[in-house]
Subunit: 259 residues, 2 copies
Amino acid sequence: MGKIIAVANQKGGVGKTTTSINLSASLAAARRRVLLVDLDPQANATSGLGFFLDEGEPDIYRVLTRQVQVDAALRATDLATLHLLPACPHLAALEVELVEHMEFGERALQLREILAPLRERFDFILIDCPPSLGLLTLNALTAADSVLIPVQTEYFAMEGLGRLMNTIGRVRESANPALEYEGVLLCMTDDRTVLSRQVSEEIRGHLESRVFETTIPRNIRLSESPSHGKPVLIYSVASKGAQAYLQLADELIRLNQSQ
Amino acid sequence: MGKIIAVANQKGGVGKTTTSINLSASLAAARRRVLLVDLDPQANATSGLGFFLDEGEPDIYRVLTRQVQVDAALRATDLATLHLLPACPHLAALEVELVEHMEFGERALQLREILAPLRERFDFILIDCPPSLGLLTLNALTAADSVLIPVQTEYFAMEGLGRLMNTIGRVRESANPALEYEGVLLCMTDDRTVLSRQVSEEIRGHLESRVFETTIPRNIRLSESPSHGKPVLIYSVASKGAQAYLQLADELIRLNQSQ
Ligand SMILES: Nc1ncnc2c1ncn2[C@@H]1O[C@H](COP(=O)(O)OP(=O)(O)OP(=O)(O)O)[C@@H](O)[C@H]1O
Ligand SMILES: Nc1ncnc2c1ncn2[C@@H]1O[C@H](COP(=O)(O)OP(=O)(O)OP(=O)(O)O)[C@@H](O)[C@H]1O
Ligand SMILES: [Mg+2]
Ligand SMILES: [Mg+2]
């Protein structure tokens, strides 16, 4: 039974998409069957893997609005066991449409219904979330078994952590009592700066075992690889960025085997 | 008559809040009367200036929902001519409430109505927007005379620029025909990396005169200053970050005098 993990943090630019793409690819390199779901109207996970959809091509918006079956929208990638459910910018319209056409209790359940039948075909389903706590992210938190929270080691990113954890608590009390923490991932760390070290220590101090041992250092290859439409594993496998995400995939597999 | 400038970009983490805080402070240092409006439920502009609101204190959400007068929510800051209209996390509820309780044509007009009477009391009103193109940002684009677009010199940030410019075009055709470009601001530039130089050249090539001459380099003092609740001008005036925003304020004043 595949595990569904939401990659979420309402703070912008903290490494959600970079983690979604490169953790998915690293899990696929370890022969796990992985589905990456792009739930952000920016469609960065889609373009970061080299896909550019024309208006009208099947994407997650058409799947969620029941215009096409999910199988019609799935894409194969350079890695044999990695598939993508791509996004288009018009996904942004969904949040308003859900409020206008659906009852309060139904609005956050749409993605869960779509992903349920896919659990048996994948070992991991990762959902890349937009930088907000709106209905798209609520759909991801309701569909997910756990939440992976990328955090940049900077002041504003740390500040938003409490609010995200409150939201996770509320989703657990209502739509998804089984929602757990997969872990907090420290991203763009830079051991040369006091700020990065201070924020890392503060987060580890507060959250202890919930923080992954693996951290992701700031590494230029990670920001170059999306412009080549490839995960960093394929673009520059020897880079510190690629090695960090391979290590994270190992840690995630180990954590999930022992359960 | 004060100029209203929306600081907007749906891409997360590109420097919207850092620019809103530090440009506002630099304009105030140049003796301009400035109002900084925090329109992001993350409330980073509010905490970055050292304000932490309790539930119930007057903030922009209470002003937009007509629970309090705008004057009751304005805060004085360390700089004599800089005031803040702060935000609270419950601002996130406004987008859904606007869809549920208002007609389509009314939803984006709320902020414009609130800011109109303030134009004569300030030379500049800057609005810090959240990382999305939802109703909060649409309210800012409808209230504004111009849009200042911070762009990180990275691949994903460049990609989103086209979509933002489309949205600005649509707002211009409908709710706000007077909306202009204040300019595109290159942020977190790093001349040592090929990626940063390439993206900068590409954006200048496409947008030419719309790009500010001033660029904001990556500078650790800019990410440290919000943890002290101070603009970088007060925290570390000699830093490259502070000097860059002072230069930007000069450029902005010059551009607006000649018009
Ligand atoms: N470890 C890293 N080292 C260097 N650059 C990185 C790293 N992680 C991410 N980046 C770059 O930082 C920027 C922000 O990362 P990314 O887009 O993955 O964040 P995000 O949280 O998905 O943003 P958004 O909130 O807009 O969805 C991107 O340009 C990305 O290429
Ligand atoms: N020029 C710079 N040099 C170094 N760090 C910077 C610079 N500009 C911004 N930062 C840091 O980068 C992070 C992102 O910046 P900021 O929060 O201002 O972006 P934003 O666009 O407002 O993000 P969001 O989309 O979440 O609102 C912050 O931690 C900030 O302190
Ligand atoms: Mg992203
Ligand atoms: Mg911000």
